[in-house]
Symmetry: C2
Subunit: 419 residues, 2 copies
């Protein structure tokens, strides 16, 4: 059995019929871990008063903090407050403070409070109201034996706002984690999670200090390095030493220590240099353009971009010579290089990224299998080309996502002289 620590009881029928994964518990687990608290157990239960009460009592036996999320809405099937009251052996009472908060919420948007919302002012006798800055349902806190029970609303937007504005400050004041904690993140592209772990060796152990947390998303590996200890200077040194080791060992793959989004990193670099970009996309078909224009401020660096899916479009839009297409085929370093140069010249851009590949599921051949993607980079008159082979078993969406991150990082490398 784990040491006394944190448990979460996530309430809601919708979490148990396959509609929604429970996103609040992973969020709470991460922010609590940053504070030095460890989540040992999560119970996901339906909107059932007896089951809620029983789960809270059980979790409170082995945890100092029990978070109860969801089921604080105004309708009759929201019974979390009843379940908590039953677990505590107390009555529900209408809290004037909670009612005031709900009325103020409606007043702020000049609406009348529906009668059903007065139900949200009910809290167990003796509990403390917790302010909800972004919704009608206040939370509340009560004691059950040695455990503190905190009930929070279920909508992730409300829960996160409450965490930042109310719960984190409250816990920092009343349940400070022992010791000093410092963290730093590195973002890598082109390396799988398992290869990274193998090359890290002992560094990824669960009891290591610093502790490494690795998350993979959209072809990017984000490595979070968390050092813990009692002495500020020592913790800082521990962290700096491991970060330096990671920088040395993974120099070829780290593209940023600020952002996990290569589109944002590339766009900020272009902004700093007052340079411009354009795109010539065959297989990625708009994903590169969408990634860059998804970042606020894109209009300062991007004027036009083109999806050129057919051979005719590659010739007519970008001026790729027909001969090149005939001899080497559309998926070739020769063609993708000409696409990059053609796009840069027609847009008058400093940088151009081009892609052409076989994303599948059909269209592969022994020579050019599904998963083959060729890349072209034009930067200030110079052109580089390269190719990657992703596993043919990967899905079309995965191959296209990886190719997009890879192309964006090639752009970052071109600008920083590392191509």
């Amino acid at each position: 059995m784990s040491a006394k620590t944190v448990a979460i009881c996530a309430v809601g029928d919708e979490l148990l019929v396959g509609k929604h994964p429970d996103l609040n518990s992973p969020f709470l687990a991460r922010v609590l871990m940053d504070m030095g608290h460890e989540v040992a157990q999560v119970a996901v239960v339906s909107d059932d008063e007896a089951l809620i009460a029983e789960s809270i009592q059980r979790l409170a036996q082995n945890a100092q903090l029990v978070f109860v999320t969801g089921g604080l809405g105004p309708t009759l099937d929201d019974v979390t407050r009843h379940g908590v009251a039953r677990a505590l052996g107390r009555e529900l009472v209408s809290s004037p403070e909670a009612l005031g908060q709900i009325e103020a919420w409606y007043a702020s948007s000049e609406r009348e409070m529906p009668a059903s919302n007065s139900r949200q002012a009910l809290i167990p006798e003796g509990a403390t109201v917790l302010f909800n800055p972004s919704g009608t349902a206040p939370g509340f806190e009560a004691s059950l034996g040695d455990a503190r029970v905190l009930a929070l609303p279920g909508p992730p937007v409300e829960l996160r706002a409450m965490w930042a504005q109310v719960i984190e400050p409250l816990l920092l004041a009343t349940a400070p984690a022992s010791g000093v904690r410092k963290s730093h993140a590195l973002h890598l592209q082109g390396l799988s999670e398992s290869v990274f772990s193998d090359q890290c060796g002992d560094w990824v152990g669960r009891d290591e200090n610093p502790l490494l947390g690795v998350t993979a998303a959209r072809g990017v590996l984000s490595v979070r390095c968390l050092a813990r200890g009692t002495d500020e200077v020592q913790v800082q040194e521990l962290l700096a030493a491991r970060v330096e080791q990671l920088r040395e060992r993974f120099a070829d793959w780290i593209f940023s220590e600020e952002s996990a989004d290569p589109a944002e990193v590339l766009l900020r670099l272009l902004e700093q240099r007052a340079e411009t970009i354009t795109l010539a996309e065959s297989c990625t078909g708009g994903l590169l353009s969408a990634a860059l224009t998804g970042v606020p401020g894109a209009s300062a660096v991007l004027s036009e971009a083109h999806t050129v899916y057919s051979a005719e479009a590659k010739q007519e839009v970008l001026g790729v010579p027909q001969e090149l297409l005939r001899v080497h085929g559309a998926v070739s370093e020769q063609v993708v290089g000409a696409m990059a140069r053609g796009a840069a010249e027609r847009a008058g851009a400093d940088l151009a990224l081009a892609t052409s590949g076989i994303a599948g599921p059909g269209g592969g051949s022994p020579d050019k299998p599904v998963g083959l993607v060729t890349f072209g980079v034009y930067y200030k008159g110079q052109v580089w080309t390269m190719k990657r082979n992703w596993a043919p078993r990967a899905s079309r969406a995965m191959i296209l996502t990886w190719a997009t991150s890879h192309a964006l990082v090639l752009g970052i490398r071109a600008l920083t002289g590392r191509l």
Copy 2:
């Protein structure tokens, strides 16, 4: 307390440190619900043998089926098999059948089986091996009191393959749900979940038959209608009647009864008619192009598409008259109509979709606030234009995602004569 039914014990430290939400439980909940089983509880626990054992014993007291997911890997921190054995009060034994499956897995990819994988052949004495078609870890099944305990691997790809090929057929044969169940799905665009629910009235009640399940993703509302009963004909009639009512009430919003992806629906329509499409994207910046080229087979209907972010690009790439831009501004029905026509004419396409809007967070004005998006549709010589105002509080990503779904549905409407 709920009736005897299904419970899930999801095992894994990674589910409790904020890295991953537990995606297996919502999947199992949905497919089990389709079979007539209801999931009443999920326990998410760390890789802790005692905690796993205790949780399984507790869940088995109130459930006929207990699924245990995760923790079947080859490394020392994978202790689910030990936890199940402890819950059953049995020893772990090496199963020749399981070992054979693991060896066959390695043989199929011409690799040597690492020694550590022999650990995956351990199952509780008396348990039955469950074949894993897409990974090294076999599952197993055992009895605990009146409950059946099924242990399945944690990687969602493996769990889903096992469900389809092994577990679903097994349960259909050995634990058939009582009664007849039939379902039908409708996909809507342009309506929020809450407005839909309000307009449905009683139809969305949790005890209704048919039961309505609503999920919202990327601006699309998918409504699943599930009828239950004992008589095949009656259930079919119940379902058909409700589906007909939904079709009538939501005719303006339903864009498909086959696919929730408007890009796929539009692409299949174009394929059937042997017609072609092109795109002229300002605010959506490549999202429309990426949505369409993300569907296999896109090359048959799309040759070229353009992101035209600047005024110059709108003029030079698409031939939008400078005068139109000067008088009405880039975000206007006049300009977006000219963009659609210009794109269709340069590509020789039957259909063209164009977007121009203010996605924020900056760039809004009283006249043209953040959230305003204008749409242009060209189809065989005719041009339609329209605008939408999304809430300025919505994020850039949300506005762009909604605008993308909306534009694709406008394309579907143009093709089906409903614009």
